[in-house]
Symmetry: C2
Subunit: 220 residues, 2 copies
């Protein structure tokens, strides 16, 4: 799903590793059984790999796909080299995939985009307001982290930045991020936007929900 944060996370990981992939757009609420067969949780994304050794490997959810890609295709490493730093990266990946999804995405991106795609009418403004309040708390925390180190999990770009980029870019698509209030996050996002892996993400468009003008501008 184009603006689904977890799907973006996997698209970014594949692009950073230079791995070609065929994208199949799937909407969980309109599944004909194909998605549920690949992932009984009936959620996007799912990766179906055809490894050089033969056969087919079906993987989900996004954090599991990241672990798999790093194990099976170690070139262009996305995981830090120490166990402690990998722990910090995994904590932040779980933060985005679980906590940020539940507290922010469910109330903002899913309310604005998924509801539109499902043709379920106008967004619930009470929910949007709740999501924006939670987002402000999260952004404050991210700004504090990025005041102390250049990338989310430490000194180097890692899977934690990929997760953050997937989730925060979806928030930006619905124009919910107040970048000016969080200068360290804004500066980080400018660096993310300038990476070649991020270009396809900036070209995504959902029918009927236009992103803000600054969405694909690296100098936002």
């Amino acid at each position: 799903m184009p603006v689904d944060p977890a799907s973006r996370m996997v698209r970014l990981a594949l692009a950073e590793k230079g791995l070609p992939a065929r994208m199949v757009e799937t909407r969980p609420w309109a599944d004909d059984g194909t998605l549920a067969a690949a992932n009984p949780a009936c959620e996007t994304p799912v990766l179906i790999d055809e490894p050089p050794t033969g056969g087919e490997i079906t993987l989900s959810p996004a954090a599991t796909i990241m672990e798999y890609l790093e194990e099976a295709y170690p070139a262009a490493a996305l995981f830090p080299s120490t166990s402690a730093a990998r722990g910090e990266m995994r904590r932040l990946i779980a933060w985005f995939c679980d906590k940020f999804e539940r507290e922010v995405i469910a109330y903002t991106v899913r309310e604005r985009i998924d509801r539109r795609l499902m043709r379920r009418g106008q967004p619930d403004y009470d929910r949007l307001r709740q999501g924006l309040e939670a987002l402000s708390w999260h952004m404050d925390y991210f700004n504090w982290l990025l005041d102390q180190r250049p990338w989310f999990a430490g000194e180097k770009y890692s899977g934690a930045d990929i997760a953050a980029a997937g989730y925060l870019s979806a928030v930006d698509y619905v124009d919910a991020a107040s970048w000016e209030k969080f200068p360290a996050v804004k500066e980080w996002y400018a660096r993310i936007k300038s990476r070649p892996s991020f270009r396809p993400i900036l070209r995504d468009r959902v029918d009927g929900v236009a992103p803000p003008d600054h969405y694909d501008d690296p100098d936002f």
Copy 2:
């Protein structure tokens, strides 16, 4: 937290690997700042390791702790040997930690035990009923899985069984599991109960919430 499923998962992993650990009981809702400093998500469990190489490594949440333990203390491996099987194990760990927690635990264990510990009065029976309905769907899926293979992720006991044991034992503590209806899950749980790593779990008691009589009986 004794009946917290994610904490149980980490206790089981430590016991399976024979790693000694000092337990510190923490209730997130009564945190004096210590838990939030160790885990900004303010959730249990947190593992603070003092590795032989010196220093201190702070880890959370439970799935990240499992990855760390397997990397740092590979003896008594809890992860399968192939990338595909590890993917299946991680899918199921995420299933329990995210989906099962959100759809079942939040409505059953947290409603019965956390609410009592917080002194917030009687459980909400509508929420309990919702949780039991969701549990029945999950148990059906687990029974289907365990009809096809002896352990959750395949031929061998793995981290997926540890996650399942942590979560399903908490459900059993509040007497919510209908074991008779799901014979493959029941047979698996009997094998889990007979493992030495599981004994401390069966001795847990929460003031004011007694487990059912069969809770610590291996022939339930």
